[in-house]
């Protein structure tokens, strides 16, 4: 799960990471009020869960509350990468001497938490890693022991030659590491981490991605979920225990298992069409889940045919077949359905499908070809 900058900053503040005064505004008026309260020039920053806000004009410097009003109005209207901006963060503007990068990730390669720092902050860190890898410093942390102060100091010294600043950075690195581990983050990032001419340091931006598997033990973070920012179908799917990603093609896919679902999408493409979605009904296979999946897919206007690809294992084919029958009867789908069923209780399932005049195949290739054919009317 992703959360907004202002939410990540709330978490940072709890750990003592220096974050400038600021509040989130839902309207230009609110933006103006916050700027007045701050009483200094402010930044007005679009709160959207995608990158590239700055380039899209979603971050503005406002000298006074009236400008803050003006920019909040502009930004609250705009779309960034197709996503409408509904909130802005109004926060004290900083006098920037230098911009660095500080981040912590779960590293699947080393199987350790890895702290990453770079002097080259403020820009896309993956770009820096590609073009000037010598500017990136990584530290693998022993997850049983945790990050030690000397390690944080070493990292701080990699990005600042002035030891006083390096020590301040080290302190932030330690706090960021705690915030990362204690909140089940998959990423916790400060970019840019800035210094001012006065020698202050600030987390100017804040990014936290949460490990979905850890969310259950952080209800306070789960409650930060921005339901506005999520695709309504994807949200509905998630709430119904389905894994769903919307795409742009016209073959609606319902599959059990993530790998098989991706392979099914790939096969659709392989035979010249585009999938309308990724959808994994998962291991347990109640008819309700199938009904739910159908409902979600039928909401997409571009879907021209529905493709079921079920390899029965834990998932029992008859359960899926029952779900299809229920869905056909209840939803009266306006598009044709192609079904592949194999594995556990396959024969039983094929009989069930006869009730709604569907003939299931056992072959994945066949069902994909058939769905494409059906989609063309």
């Amino acid at each position: 799960m992703k959360i907004h900058e202002y939410q990540a900053k709330e978490i940072f503040k709890r750990y003592g990471i220096p974050v400038q005064a600021g509040e989130v505004a839902n309207s230009p008026e609110e933006g103006k009020n916050i700027a007045e309260k701050i009483g200094k020039p402010v930044m007005v920053k679009a709160q959207v869960l995608v990158g590239g806000r700055g380039k899209a004009g979603g971050i503005k410097y406002a000298k006074n509350p009236d400008e803050a009003y003006q920019y909040a109005k502009e930004i609250l209207g705009m779309e960034i990468k197709g996503i409408k901006v509904k909130k802005v963060l109004v926060t004290e503007a900083a006098d920037i001497s230098s911009e660095a990068y500080i981040g912590v990730i779960v590293d699947r390669k080393t199987k350790k938490p890895v702290v990453i720092v770079s002097q080259a902050g403020g820009i896309d860190i993956e770009e820096v890693a590609k073009t000037t890898p010598e500017k990136i410093f990584k530290l693998e942390v022993d997850p049983l022991l945790g990050l030690q102060s000397f390690q944080a100091r070493d990292l701080g010294s990699k990005i600042y030659s002035d030891f006083k600043i390096a020590a301040k950075a080290a302190d932030v690195i330690k706090k960021l590491y705690f915030a990362f581990t204690e909140n089940d983050c998959s990423l916790a990032e400060i970019n840019p981490f800035i210094t001012t001419p006065k020698g202050e340091v600030w987390a100017l931006d804040a990014k936290i991605n949460l490990d979905d598997s850890g969310l259950a033990r952080h209800p306070e973070i789960e409650s930060m979920r921005d339901k506005d920012a999520e695709d309504p179908s994807e949200m509905k799917a998630r709430e119904g225990g389905l894994s769903f990603v919307k795409l742009n093609g016209n073959i609606g896919c319902i599959v059990n298992g993530a790998g098989l679902a991706m392979a099914t999408m790939d096969l659709v493409k392989h035979f010249g069409e585009e999938p309308a979605n990724f959808l994994d009904i998962g291991g347990s296979s109640s008819p309700e889940k199938v009904l739910n999946a159908m409902k979600i897919i039928l909401k997409e206007p571009n879907v021209k045919a529905i493709l079921f690809n079920i390899f029965g294992g834990i998932t029992r084919c008859d359960d899926v077949a029952n779900g299809i029958v229920q869905a056909v009867k209840q939803l009266k789908p306006p598009v044709p359905i192609a079904v592949r069923l194999t594995g556990t209780n396959e024969d039983k399932a094929k009989k069930i499908l006869e009730k709604v005049n569907l003939t299931a195949t056992s072959s994945m290739v066949d069902v994909v070809k058939k769905a494409i054919e059906l989609s063309k009317g």
């Binding site: 679902a261 991706m262 990724f278 194999t342």
Partner: protein, 298 residues
């Protein structure tokens, strides 16, 4: 021979009285697996399908000689179950449970490195040595004893590939689902190493998917260290970046972890990549023919 699981495998099922645990304990037993015990704290003394239930893995090991654990407990108890099995010194833990937080798995992984215990998973469909023992949730009947090793990050996609292998007369030595999560106990390379050493295995199928760089590392490993042929399949060519496709591992992040990169890495390592799951079998057949032709004594 085979790898990880063989005729000496004695399984203890952790979470045997749960919905999944009891169902699959029966399934494994009826497949012929030597399921010697189950564990559910507080249910010691009961039995499931004739399998005795104990309060702890230690008891199962001491009283029934269990050497392999398979874990079906809910995610929030799974980490404790892994530590318990490792503490009881089972040789292999197969963790089916999904949804274990990555932060916990980092600790588990680094802790297990200091022990003799191997972990497969979590979020794994299991390990099967066809016609010998099944430790997991895969449908047993699609498998057939043979000479092809299969290693995969996926569940049902593996079944799809295995199904075609079997249809084409290509039996399997061992099939391993290493699990779909970011942080897993056993990776592709570990399995490739074991398959290379296993006399029964003649060729290996590697089923990858988007996310991470495990496939790239496996490709390099095959190039450098393996004499046996490997055929690959990679799922997710059509997956969009930044979107998680089902489980924690399957995500293209920051433009890396794409199917294209992985396929390119395999091709660079002279590993044939099947365009569809069904075509894996044909490529394996080609490789087997090549082995046959290159044999000095034919």
């Amino acid at each position: 021979m085979s790898i990880l699981v063989d005729k000496n495998t004695k399984v203890v099922v952790q979470g045997i009285t749960g919905r999944d645990g009891s169902f699959h304990a029966k399934q494994m037993k009826s497949y012929g697996t030597n399921v010697v015990a189950g564990v559910t704290p507080g249910k010691g003394g009961e039995s499931v399908d004739g399998i005795p239930v104990f309060n702890s893995v230690k008891e199962a090991v001491e009283k029934k000689g269990a050497n392999t654990s398979v874990i079906y407990v809910p995610a929030k108890f799974a980490v404790d179950a892994i530590y318990e099995a490792a503490d009881a010194r089972v040789k292999l833990i197969v963790c089916i449970s999904e949804g274990i937080p990555a932060i916990d798995m980092l600790k588990v992984y680094n802790y297990l490195k200091t022990t003799e215990t191997r972990l497969v998973g979590p979020n794994s469909p299991g390990v099967i040595t066809p016609e010998v023992a099944k430790v997991g949730i895969m449908p047993g009947q699609i498998h057939k004893k043979g000479e092809i090793g299969v290693v995969s990050r996926s569940g049902t996609l593996t079944y799809e590939v295995v199904y075609h292998l079997t249809l084409n007369g290509l039996g399997q030595s061992t099939c391993i689902g290493i699990g779909g999560d970011q942080i897993i106990g056993t990776n592709f390379i570990d399995c490739l190493f074991l398959f290379e050493k296993d006399p029964q295995t003649k060729a290996v199928v590697l089923i990858g998917e988007i996310g991470g760089t495990d496939e790239e590392e496996a490709a390099l490993y095959v190039k450098k260290n393996m004499k046996k042929p490997v055929v690959a399949f990679v799922a997710g060519r059509t997956a969009p970046p930044g979107k998680r496709m089902g489980h924690a591992g399957a995500i293209i992040s920051g433009g890396s972890g794409t199917a294209e990169e992985k396929i390119e890495a395999f091709e660079k390592a002279k590993i044939k990549v099947a365009p569809t799951p069904a075509e894996v079998a044909a490529l394996i057949k080609e490789e087997l023919v090549l082995i046959q032709q290159n044999k000095p004594n034919t």
